[in-house]
Amino acid sequence: MDQETQLDEAAVRALALAAGLALPAEREGLVAEQLGPWLSAANQLNRKMAAEEHRAVAPITAFVHPAGEGDES
C-alpha cells in the first residue's frame, strides 16, 4: 500500500466532514480500513492516467438527448 494513502480515523473524519456526512465516530475505523487500499489503487490509476501518453483520452461520460429532441415541429 502507498504510504500516502494509509488512512487513520482522523483522516476519515476530515473526509466525512468535507462530504457533509455525519459519520459516527465508531465507524471511522471501519471506513479507514476499507478505504485506504482502495484509495491507494485509485491514486495509482490517477498516476497512470496523468501520464503524457494519455493526455488526449477523454472520460466516458455521455450527454443523452431525450427522445424527440431536435425533431422538427
Binding site: 459519520l23 465507524r27 485509485a42 495509482q44 494519455h54 472520460p59 466516458i60 461520460t61 455521455a62
Partner: protein, 475 residues
C-alpha cells in the same frame, strides 16, 4: 390440454422446450405455473431465492393465457412460460424492494420496460428474486430478506448480486430469470450456480424503471439453463427504448438464428498474463479445457496482449463506489441504520473519493475500451474465466484463491468481470466444468459491441459439445 409429465419433469424442461410444448398444446401455462410454484414451495425455505412469489397472480395470468391459446391467440414466443425478475426491476402495482428495507413498501406505478416486454412476449412473471441489497455486493447475503444459498450446496454462496435469480433458475423454480449486471452481477451468479447469463452491450437493453446501482455501467440481462433459452429471452427484451435515452437505434436481430452455425474459423483471443493468472486450479483447468473444446470444434485460439488491462479493478471499484453514493446520498443521511452493514460501509466509502479519482477511472474506461476494440481487429471474441474461484461458504467476506492468502471478496470477485463492465462490451457466462466438490465453474465469452449473436452462437456450440449444462443440483 393433456400431459403425462409430472411437475418434477416439467420443471426440468429447458425454457425453449417448455415454450414449444405450450405452443403445441401438449402442456398448459397453468401446469407450468403450478409446477414452478410447487418447486418453489419445496426448496425456497432453504434457498431464500425469492422475496415475493406471485402464486395467485401467476395462476390468473396462466388461466387467461390458456383461454387465449384455445381461441388461437398467442402473445409471443414465451407464451405461458414462467420466469422470475430480480427485485430491483419494477412491476406496476407489485412491491419492488431492491432487496432493501428502505424500499420495502414501494409499489411502482409503471413496469420497467423489460418487465413490460416480457409480458408482451407471453412470459408469466412468477416472482421477484432475492439479491444483494441494492445490488451493491457480490454475495447475496441479504440481511433483510435472508441469505441466498447455492442449490449445488446450500452451505455455499450463490454469488451476486443477482444471486436469487441464479439460485432460482439452477434450482428449477423458474425457466429463466432476469438479472442486472453492473460489475458482474449476472455473470458471477450464473457461473457459481452453473447456468448461462448474458451481460449485454451497454444500451442494448433498456434500464427504464430498474433501480440503479451505477448508471454508467448498469445493464439488464437474462439468466437461463441453456444458451438457447438465454437467446430466446434476449429476443424479448433487446432493443431501443424511447424511455431510456441510452439505448441507441441499433437494429436487433433474431438471436437464435445462428445457434447452429458452429465455430469453424472463429478467432478466440486470450490474454495469458491476465486471464490465466491468480486462479484456483480447477477454474484454470476447466477454462483451458473449454478452449481445447473450441479448437476441436474448428476455432483458433490467439494470444493477445492488452497493455493497460491492469488497473481495471480499481477503476471499477471507484466508479461503483461513487455512483451509488450519489443515488443513495439522501437515504444514507436520513436512514443509515436501515442499510445492511456492508452496503452502508460501501456507500460511506463512496462519498470519500475525489472527483478526480472518478474522472480518471472514467478516462481509464475509454483507454481500455480503445485497446479492446483494437484487439478485435485480430480476434472475434475473448474467452476467460468468469471468476477465479468456485463457491465459498455463505456469509464469508474474504476468499482464499492462493493457498493461505485471504483476499477481500469484492475486489477478488471482479477480477475478470470488470473488463466488460468498464468497456461496455457484451459478455456471456457459460458453465464449463466442476471443481472437486462438484461446484460449478464458468467461463466468459466477451464480444464486440452489439455482437451478442456471435456470443450465443459460440456458447450454443460449446453446449452442443459438452454436458455441463444438463447436470442438475440434487436439492
Amino acid at each position: 390440454m393433456s400431459t403425462t409429465r409430472t411437475s418434477s419433469e416439467l420443471v426440468e424442461l429447458p425454457l425453449a422446450r417448455a415454450a414449444e410444448l405450450v405452443e403445441s398444446g401438449d402442456v398448459s401455462p397453468v401446469e407450468l405455473v403450478d409446477a414452478c410454484v410447487e418447486r418453489i414451495d419445496a426448496v425456497d425455505d432453504q434457498l431464500r431465492a425469492y422475496i415475493t412469489v406471485y402464486r395467485d397472480e401467476a395462476r390468473e395470468v396462466a388461466r387467461a393465457q390458456e383461454t387465449m391459446q384455445r381461441a388461437g391467440h398467442r402473445l409471443g414466443t414465451l407464451h405461458g412460460v414462467p420466469v422470475a425478475l430480480k427485485d430491483n426491476i419494477a412491476m406496476r402495482g407489485l412491491r419492488t424492494t431492491a432487496g432493501s428495507k428502505i424500499l420495502d413498501g414501494w409499489i411502482p406505478e409503471e413496469d420497467a420496460t423489460v418487465a413490460a416486454r416480457l409480458k408482451s412476449s407471453g412470459a408469466i412473471l412468477i416472482g421477484k428474486t432475492n439479491m444483494h441489497e441494492f445490488a451493491w455486493g457480490g454475495t447475496s447475503a441479504n440481511p433483510h430478506h435472508g441469505f441466498v444459498r447455492n442449490p449445488w450446496n446450500p452451505e455455499r454462496f450463490p454469488a451476486g448480486s443477482s444471486g436469487g435469480s441464479g439460485a432460482a433458475v439452477a434450482a428449477r423454480t423458474a425457466f429463466g430469470a432476469l438479472g442486472t449486471d453492473t460489475g458482474g452481477s449476472i455473470r458471477l451468479p450464473s457461473a457459481i450456480n452453473g447456468i448461462v447469463g448474458i451481460r449485454p452491450t451497454i444500451g442494448r437493453v433498456s434500464n427504464f424503471n430498474v433501480i440503479p446501482l451505477a448508471w454508467s455501467m448498469d445493464t439488464v440481462g437474462p439468466m437461463c439453463r441453456t444458451v438457447e433459452d438465454c437467446a430466446l429471452m434476449f429476443n424479448a427484451i433487446a432493443g431501443a427504448d424511447p424511455r431510456d435515452g441510452a439505448t441507441p437505434n441499433v437494429p436487433v436481430t433474431d438471436y437464435t438464428a445462428d445457434l447452429r452455425r458452429g465455430v469453424e474459423g472463429v478467432r478466440i483471443g486470450v490474454i495469458p498474463d491476465y486471464f490465466f493468472h491468480h486462479l484456483q486450479p480447477p477454474v484454470e483447468r476447466s477454462v483451458r479445457d473449454a478452449l481445447a473444446t473450441f479448437e476441436h470444434l474448428g476455432a483458433t485460439v490467439v494470444e493477445v496482449s492488452v497493455d493497460n488491462i491492469h488497473g481495471n479493478i480499481s477503476a471499477q471499484l471507484t466508479i461503483e463506489s461513487c455512483e451509488p453514493s450519489a443515488y443513495h446520498q439522501r437515504w444514507l443521511r436520513e436512514r443509515p441504520e436501515d442499510y445492511g452493514d456492508d452496503v452502508r460501509l460501501l456507500l460511506e466509502i463512496g462519498e470519500m473519493h475525489s472527483a478526480v479519482h472518478y474522472l480518471q477511472a472514467q478516462r481509464y474506461r475509454a483507454l481500455l475500451r480503445a485497446e479492446f476494440l483494437e484487439a478485435f481487429r485480430s480476434v472475434d471474441v475473448f474467452v476467460c474465466p468468469t471468476l477465479p474461484f468456485t463457491a465459498t461458504k455463505v456469509g464469508e467476506m474474504s476468499v482464499e484463491i492462493e493457498h493461505g492468502v485471504e483476499e477481500d471478496m469484492l475486489a477478488a470477485i471482479m477480477q475478470f468481470t470488470g473488463v466488460p463492465s468498464l468497456t461496455g462490451l457484451p459478455s456471456l457466462a457459460v458453465p464449463c466444468g466442476f471443481d472437486d466438490d462438484a461446484l460449478p465453474v464458468g467461463m466468459q465469452l466477451i464480444g464486440q459491441p452489439f455482437d451478442e449473436a456471435r456470443l450465443f452462437r459460440l456458447g450454443a456450440a460449446f453446449q452442443e459439445a459438452t454436458d455441463f449444462h444438463t447436470r442438475a443440483p440434487t436439492l
